[in-house]
């Protein structure tokens, strides 16, 4: 049997020999995977927001101030008669103000409000979220103006689309950055392995001469590459753990503020983060194995 001690000592002396190259390779893997991890978590978050908006698809129909109760009742009856509608809830001006006060408790905004600027509204949920456009259109006349009594119609679609397009742009940019960094990481690990192969070329020659198997010759190099990639992965996890949480909280805040989304819509990445961590470590190891595999193919002939 081959003693594992052999492989360990070979690998570590090699890592020591190429200290700076090794550091460069590990840091590049770490940064690459950190970005991959961050992006994954952000996408997951945004998807969460999108899904929760979709599932609650609520149509808010704001009414003109001073609408007659007859017209209000007429509109409500109309809405209830549509088959796509699941429920309709009337929110009066007073209820709206009450709700606003609750949501902004302790805020300076409250001091600035005089009277009640908030409109009354109908909040409509649908049986089938896909029909939301069709329902929304019924509040417009054929000239594109709101029908009598209606001041504004707001529904989640705008947020969803905005969110989608922002995510898509971030996604494309991130993927380009990741691709470039990934390539750099592979090249750097490849290079450290190339150097170790070069440093041990005499040993490799003797090994082949006396009949060491190809795997026996390769394993220390594969292990070295794996270790570099894996260490990079672990560092990326640590980075993500500390800065990632911090950044994500900011990002979520930003989404909440700019999109005017209810805070509860943010799902948070708590549950999946552990899988992201595992994924990063595995990915790091694979990048290392791949890079040293390429170097071995190129420099160690059978």
């Amino acid at each position: 049997m081959v003693r594992p001690g052999y492989f360990f000592s070979e690998t570590f002396s090699s890592l020591r020999r190429n200290f700076f190259m090794t550091c460069a390779a590990i840091s590049t893997v770490a940064i690459t995977l950190f970005i991959v991890g961050l992006f994954t978590v952000i996408v997951y978050d945004v998807m969460g927001v999108v899904n929760s908006i979709k599932s609650q698809v609520e149509l808010a129909v704001y009414l003109e101030d001073g609408i007659s109760s007859g017209l209000k009742d007429y509109i409500e009856q109309e809405i209830k008669s549509w088959e796509e509608v699941d429920s309709v809830k009337y929110v009066s001006k007073d209820q709206a103000l009450e709700r606003f006060k609750e949501q902004n408790e302790g805020s300076d905004i409250l001091k600035e409000i005089e009277g009640n600027p908030l409109p009354a509204s109908f909040e409509i949920t649908l049986k089938d979220p896909e029909k939301i456009d069709r329902v929304a259109l019924r509040f417009y006349d054929k000239d594109g103006n709101y029908i009598e009594g209606v001041n504004d119609v707001i529904y989640g679609k705008n947020y969803v689309n905005k969110l989608f397009s922002i995510t898509a742009i971030i996604g494309v940019i991130t993927i380009i950055i990741i691709a470039v960094l990934l390539l750099a990481a592979i090249v750097l690990i490849f290079n450290t392995i190339r150097l170790s192969i070069y440093a041990r070329r005499k040993e490799i020659e003797v090994m082949k001469l006396v009949g060491a198997t190809n795997w026996f010759v390769r394993i220390p190099f594969l292990f070295e590459g794996f270790l570099e990639g894996f260490t990079g992965g672990i560092i990326s996890i640590i980075l993500l753990y500390f800065t990632g949480n911090f950044l994500l909280i900011r990002a979520e805040r930003l989404i909440v503020d700019t999109m005017r989304i209810k805070e509860m819509a943010i799902v948070g990445s708590g549950g999946v983060i552990i899988y992201v961590y595992i994924g990063l470590a595995v990915l790091g190891g694979l990048i290392g194995l791949l890079s040293s595999g390429i170097a071995l193919r190129k420099y160690v002939k059978v």
């Binding site: 082949k208 001469l209 190809n214 026996f216 059978v302």
Partner: protein, 228 residues
């Protein structure tokens, strides 16, 4: 039993150099064969074909009766474990002691530690270097270094030992010592094939001589001399 057999073997390198042309040769078990000829005549290529460091262009090569031409690359290590190799430049590892250098050959084929200790000590006694066990290669003379490399080639007791100009870097007296060791290894049943263009050695040994010239066998003589 035929230990090494070449049947119509031709080797043409990628750059179209014909190193060996239609070689036919049989080396029987326990023989000692000198492969002689001027530099560039194809001696090293002959040896590289046997250990599959290079592949023949045409013909077949049999080792201990087995055709090695279509040997899968995963089987090559097994072939090499049965063939010891010695070279002009020793190929010792400078950062390992004599013991470690020889033990290395067994370690990398997965021999257990206790077995390694016994076998390495035995073979170092055989080449007369047991007292240098803890020295490093640079502390040894060239002749001693070549004996270490023979020890490494033979430590696994292969049935075949190939030597490519093992005395090429050595003075005549040191070379004689190397030849004594190779003879001793041959005497215990090992088939030895030695490529050389050292006239004195060949003439003093009176063994089978196969002469190559521009890739062709021009002479195969039983108790031969170097010629001219």
């Amino acid at each position: 039993m035929n230990m090494i057999e070449f049947r119509n073997v031709t080797k043409i390198y990628e750059d179209n150099t014909a190193a060996l042309k239609n070689i036919n040769l049989i080396v029987r078990k326990g023989e000692f064969v000198f492969l002689v000829g001027p530099s560039g005549s194809g001696k090293s290529t002959f040896i590289k074909l046997i250990i599959k460091e290079v592949d023949e262009t045409d013909g077949s090569i049999f080792i201990a009766g087995r055709n090695i031409c279509n040997l899968r690359s995963s089987k090559i290590p097994q072939l090499r474990r049965n063939i010891g190799c010695v070279f002009q430049d020793f190929k010792l590892l400078p950062n390992k002691t004599i013991f470690e250098n020889v033990a290395f050959a067994l370690e990398v084929i997965g021999k257990p530690v206790y077995e390694i200790k016994i076998q390495v000590s035995q073979v170092l006694k055989l080449v007369g270097l047991y007292d240098k066990i803890d020295s490093y290669p640079h502390q040894l003379s060239a002749g001693e270094q070549q004996r270490v490399s023979i020890a490494r080639a033979f430590v696994n007791r292969p049935p075949i030992l190939l030597a490519d100009e093992p005395t090429g870097n050595l003075d005549p007296i040191t070379s004689e010592g190397i030849m004594k060791i190779l003879s001793r290894i041959n005497l215990i049943g090992t088939t030895v094939l030695m490529a050389t263009h050292d006239k004195n050695i060949v003439n003093s040994m009176r063994r089978r001589v196969v002469e190559l010239e521009e890739g062709e066998i021009v002479r195969d003589q039983k108790r031969g001399v170097y010629g001219d």
